[in-house]
Amino acid sequence: MAKQKFDIIQSTCIPIQIDNCNTDLIIPARYLASTTRDPKFFGDAFMHDLRFDAEGNAVADFVMNKAEYSEEPKKGVHEIIIGGQNWGSGSSREHAAWAIAGYGVRVVISSSFADIHRNNLLNCFVLPVIVSKEFQQELFETVLANPQTEVKVDVPNQTVTNMATGHSESFEINGYKKYCLMNALDDIDFLLENKGKIEEYEHK
């Protein structure tokens, strides 16, 4: 997945108000057999069975197909998903994170994430932001009331702000991962730099 440096993202949002939205929903199993790394392939499969019916027609009342939220993400537009609680539960498939990244989303905000999916998002340079249930609810309400509502995610200062209400919360991210995201560095390079320490451990 494309590594983009993180700084401040201010964007309109896609509200996906589904609790326990599992990775089978985010990307159905039949898309997992592919050996490709093509972001478009996975982006097209994102939430596929809720977006499309068995004949491949768009499901009109699914949020991503509504005119207000259907525009493909680009700078300032739909780069942020507001998700239901326990986002990304179930299967460890990183394909779910590839689908979100491939669709063009850079931040997922929820009150809770499943552990494996949260790591996968970070490794795919999509930022999972954990907020309080109250703030999550407020974001849903504001974005649903006015789809033009923008949310600002400030990575250096670790804050998330509802621009419509001015309400803000801080979010957690460890210093190492924050540095990686802000500088577009992945974990493998770090681990390879530490080969000496690994061999030292093995000889203990």
Binding site: A33, S91, S92, E94, N120, N123, G175, N194
Partner: protein, 462 residues
């Protein structure tokens, strides 16, 4: 004053990254065909080799058909299985090919070959890697980027989870299995109740469980949100592992057991959370919704709408709409179309013995399609050696070939849209067994009883 988890974790710390995660040494990496092709591509991009190929074991299981294993008809699935074989050859990794006696579902094969041992750290790009925790190991599901990390360095960057102990005390009532225990815990804790925690299962009920039962229990940890579900190794563990293919032999075995006996939570160890359940409160269970926590005892009714918290009613109703059930409905007696015995949850010998004990001398209901799929070729051989295949055959069942099969819709064993399946697998998610398929999760005993009557059936009443 350390927990079992702490003891194993601390013994595998390579370094604690400043203001960051731990670099954790991994003893065993398992690879299957679905979550590894892109990880091997990453190695090729960076022009690096596998750091410790002898600690990696690979086998295809998700795309494997269960009716024949000469070929895979779906070209995309076939390519994925071939890609795994090619990657293993290129990077020097042990590979248990489809259709060979070593093959099976990773989470069945690993413990039964003693490739998973007490005290180990074990990872795999599969959330049900938690299964291996039953031997007394830290075993966690990871993503593909993390698979690449481990291939490249035999280490992984992880933040240390909190710890939770789940005690189950007492004797399980008749007809109640490890699967029912797990389904019961999920219903109590919810599917995110253990998110952020590594779980240890303890208490007399767990101590009295067979290794197969413990593997089922640990397998389902992820359905409570926990990536890892550990059980302290004891005589049951040692007896199970002794003599298996990759277990230490002779003096090395004695020495290993001596070390493994130190793997338990100290009496004064403190857990971040601790809960206790009574075995006598648990009965054979079924799920009614589209997450594994939405379950009831088999003789109970689906909750009425008033019994559901107000902010959860919308989700409750949309689950029931998909399942074509009503609030307050009793599911016992509901006609089923498909019965599935197998998966990394219930594809072991004990599960087939249990199933056979119910169907022996009876006949499969004609309206039911039944898939009986052993978790490995070793399990399949044992079924034949014990004559269980004959019992199944006489009752109108066919024993299939090892595969993940109908647990997830990645091979030909798909449940058609709208059909109701009662299944020993681990997930009842929307579309999990096939687009539009409806799934009830249950134990091998409940699935067997239902396969005989053709309706959801309490095995105690059959």
């Amino acid at each position: 004053m350390k927990t079992l988890f702490d003891k194993i974790w601390d013994a595998h710390v390579v370094q604690n990254v400043q203001d960051g995660p731990t670099q954790l040494y991994i003893d065993r990496l398992y690879c299957h065909e679905v979550t590894t092709p892109q990880a091997f591509d990453t190695l090729r991009d960076k022009n690096i080799s596998v750091f410790r190929p002898e600690q990696v074991v690979a086998m295809p299981d998700h795309n494997t058909p269960s009716d024949q294993q000469e070929r895979i008809d779906d070209p995309i699935g076939r390519k994925q299985v071939e890609t795994l074989a090619k990657n293993c050859a290129e990077f020097g990794i042990r590979h248990f090919a489809m259709g060979t006696k070593d093959n099976g579902i990773i989470h069945v094969v690993g413990p039964e070959k003693a490739l998973s041992l007490p005290g180990m750290t074990i990872v795999c790009g599969d959330s049900h890697t938690s299964t291996h925790g039953a031997v007394g190991a830290i075993a966690m599901g990871i993503g593909t980027s993390e698979v690449a990390q481990v291939l490249a360095s035999q280490t992984i960057l992880q933040s240390k989870p909190k710890t939770m102990r789940i005690n189950i005390e007492g004797i399980l009532p008749e007809g109640t299995t490890a699967k029912d225990v797990a389904l019961y815990i999920m219903a109590q804790l919810t599917t995110s109740g253990a998110t952020g925690y590594a779980v240890e299962y303890a208490g007399s009920t767990v101590r009295n469980m067979s290794m197969e039962g413990r593997l089922t229990l640990s397998n389902l940890s992820i359905e409570m949100g926990s990536r890892a579900g550990l059980i302290a190794p004891d005589e049951t563990t040692f007896a199970y592992l002794k003599g298996r293919e990759y277990a230490p032999k002779g003096e090395a075995w004695d020495k290993a057991v001596e070390e493994w006996k130190k793997l338990y939570s100290d009496d004064d160890a403190v857990f971040d959370k601790e809960v206790t359940y009574r075995a006598e409160d648990i009965a054979p269970r079924i799920t009614y919704g589209t997450n594994p926590g939405a379950g009831i005892a088999i003789d109970e009714c689906i909750p009425a709408l008033e019994d559901i918290a107000e902010d959860e009613r919308q989700q409750f109703l949309s689950m029931l709409e998909y399942m074509q059930f009503e609030p307050g409905q009793k599911l016992e007696g509901t006609p089923v179309d498909y019965c599935f015995l197998g998966a990394c949850t219930n594809g072991r010998i004990e599960d087939f013995r249990a199933f056979a004990s119910v169907v022996k001398g009876k006949k499969k209901a004609e309206n039911v399609v039944a898939w009986l799929v052993p978790g490995s070729w070793l399990v399949r051989q044992q079924i034949i050696d014990e004559g269980i295949d004959k019992i199944l055959e006489e009752a109108g069942f066919e024993l299939r070939l090892p595969s993940c099969s109908s647990c997830l819709a990645m091979n030909p064993d798909k449940v058609p849209a709208g059909k109701l399946s009662i299944s020993t697998s681990n997930r009842n998610f929307v579309g999990r067994q096939g687009p539009g398929a409806r799934t009830i999760l249950a134990s091998p005993l409940v699935v067997a009883a239902s396969a005989i009557t053709g309706v959801v059936t309490d095995p105690r009443k059959l």
